[in-house]
Subunit: 306 residues, 2 copies
C-alpha cells in the first residue's frame, strides 16, 4: 500500500477505506483483483469535485451570459425565468431548482455552435471569480479530490464525471483542472442541430434539453456513455444516490462515497436544507445502502490548493 | 514514416494518405502537429469495420432472439413486424430499414437488465455464424481495419465506434475484436429504467428508442459522447456522410474516408442499391466533400484474418 498517497487526506477511516479498496482491486492474484478495464470510477462534480455554494457555478455562468444578452435585448429583463435570474431572486432560483438553472443556461446558448460555446465558456472561466471566496472558479476544485483522481488514474482506473451540470461547460476545464478527458465527462445536455453552411458542417445548440443528468438518470447515462457499472462512485447529495446504489449493486469489491459538507470554517456547512441539491436520504440511509460518509472537516487536511 | 505499418493494405493512394496523415499530425514542431488529446478518430461499424451483407449482424442477433421468444409465445409469429423478421421476408425487412431492424432488436430485449443483455449477446456471439461465409460474426472484422485501429492507437489516437447498430451489442465484442473500450462505443440505444429490487439497483432495458445513431444524428452523438470534433473519420454509406463532413469541417489536417465495397470475389460488391444502408450521395460527391474513397478491391491485400 502506498502510504504516501493522498497527502491532503487526514489519516482516518475515509482515507483508509480508499487505500484499502485500491490495494484490494489492484493486487494481482488477490481474491478481489479487478481488471484495469473494469476499474471505472464516477464522480459527481458540483459539491463533490468543486464548490457549489452559494449556488452552482452553472448559475454564475448563465447569469453572466444573461447580462450580456440583456444588454442587447432589454426585454429579457422583464421575461421569466430570466428576470428572476438577472435580479438574483434567490427564492425563485431555489424554486426553479438545478433543472431550472440548466434550462436557463441552455436557453442563453441556443443558436450557438459548439465551437462558439467552447470559446464563451473558456473566456468566462479564465476570469470569473467566486463572489465570496474571491478565487477563480477553476481554483475551487477540492485539492483532496484532485489528488484522488490522479491516484486512481495511476492505479489503472478510468475516471468519469457524472454531473447534473452542463456537459460542455465541464468539458471546458475538466482536462486542465481534473485531468479528465472531454469524452469522460457525462452531464446534462441539450439537443443539437447539424447544420451545413457554405460547405461547413457544425453542431448548433438548441434550447431543448436532451438529458437532465440527475438522480435515476445518472445510472442511465452511465449505461449510455460508459457501458460498464462503476466499482467506485463519489457524490455529495441525494441526486447521486441512484449512482451510488447502482455502483454498490455489482459483484465484487465496491466503494460508494458521500462527501458531507460540515466545514463552515474552510468551506460551507450544509446538507438537507440546500434546496438546489439536498443531502437527506443518502445521509440518513448511508449505512443501510453501504455508503461511506466522508467528512470534509475530519477527513480533509486541506480543502483548496494554496 | 513507418513504412511497415498497415501490411494488409496494398501500396497505393489510400494507404499513402493514411500514413501521410498520421505522420503530419504526429510530427512534433511540424506545421500540422495535433496534440494527442485532439487525435480523435471515429469509425462506423457495419460495412466499415465488419461485414454487413446480406444483412447487418444486428438482424441475425434479433432473429435468433425472436425465435427463442416465439418458442415461448407463438403469437409473435402472427404479429408484425416480428412475423416478417421470423419469416425472413426480405422485401419487408428492407422496407423497415436499419431503424426498423434496431426497433425489433430493442423490442425483443425489453425488460432485460443490462447484465442479462450482456450475457445474451456474448452467448450468441460465441457461436453464431455468418450464413454465407461460414465464420463466426466476430471473425468478419476486416483485417486491414483492425490493423488501422491498432496503428492509430499506437500513434496516440483515441478510436471511437459511431454506429447505427445497437450500442450494447457492439460493446459485447469491441474490446476483444477491435481493442476499443466499451466507453468508446457510440451507437443506437434504448431508454432504460433504473430499478431497485431487494436492495439491488439495475438498469432495465425498455422498448423505446433513445437514439437512432444514423446520418445527422452521428455528429450529434459525437458531440454528446466525445465532445470533440474528430480529425479522422471512416464510413461506408450515406449514413456516415454527416460524420465525414463534420470531421472535414474543422481546422487543421483532416481525413475523411469512405470504404467502397467493390470486391464481389473476396466479400461483396454493392453501393447505391443496398437499401438498408445505401452509398450514393457520398460516392457521387466524394471529391467535392473532400472524402477519400477506399476501394476494397484495390486497396486491401487481405479482407479477413486467415
Amino acid at each position: 500500500m502506498d502510504t504516501t498517497a493522498l497527502p491532503s487526506w487526514n489519516e482516518g477511516p475515509a482515507r483508509q477505506a480508499l487505500l484499502d479498496f485500491v490495494q484490494r482491486v489492484t493486487t494481482v492474484d488477490g481474491p478481489d483483483f479487478v481488471q484495469p478495464a473494469d476499474r471505472i470510477a464516477t464522480f459527481d462534480n458540483d459539491g463533490t469535485l468543486w464548490c457549489e455554494q452559494p449556488l452552482q457555478v452553472q448559475f454564475f455562468f448563465a447569469h453572466h451570459r444573461l447580462e450580456q444578452l440583456a444588454a442587447q435585448d432589454p426585454s429579457l429583463k422583464q421575461r421569466q425565468p430570466f428576470k428572476a435570474f438577472l435580479e438574483r431572486d434567490m427564492a425563485a432560483i431555489h424554486d426553479a431548482g438545478m433543472k431550472g438553472l440548466f434550462e436557463v443556461a441552455a436557453a442563453t446558448h441556443a443558436g450557438v455552435t459548439e465551437d462558439e460555446f467552447e470559446a464563451i465558456a473558456r473566456d468566462w472561466l479564465s476570469s470569473a471569480k467566486h463572489p465570496k471566496l474571491g478565487r477563480l472558479f477553476t481554483a475551487l476544485a477540492y485539492r483532496p479530490q484532485v489528488e484522488l483522481l490522479g491516484y486512481l488514474q495511476r492505479q489503472g482506473f478510468k475516471n468519469f464525471i457524472v454531473s447534473g451540470g452542463g456537459i460542455d461547460l465541464i468539458r471546458a476545464f475538466s482536462e486542465e483542472v481534473y485531468g479528465i478527458p472531454r469524452d469522460q465527462v457525462v452531464g446534462s445536455s441539450v439537443k443539437t442541430r447539424f447544420e451545413i453552411k457554405d460547405g461547413r458542417g457544425d453542431l448548433v445548440k438548441l434550447a431543448e434539453i436532451d438529458t437532465f443528468d440527475d438522480r435515476e438518470v445518472k445510472p442511465h447515462n452511465i449505461g449510455l456513455h460508459i457501458g460498464r457499472r462503476p466499482i467506485l462512485a463519489f457524490g455529495n447529495s441525494d441526486g447521486d444516490l441512484a449512482m451510488l446504489r447502482y455502483t454498490r449493486s455489482g459483484p465484487g469489491p465496491r466503494l460508494a462515497l458521500l462527501l458531507h459538507h460540515d466545514d463552515a470554517e474552510r468551506e460551507f456547512a450544509y446538507d438537507r436544507e440546500f434546496r438546489l441539491s439536498p443531502l437527506a436520504e443518502a445521509l440518513d440511509h448511508a449505512q443501510e445502502y453501504g455508503i461511506d460518509v466522508v467528512s470534509m472537516k475530519r477527513d480533509w487536511r486541506q480543502v483548496f490548493a494554496a
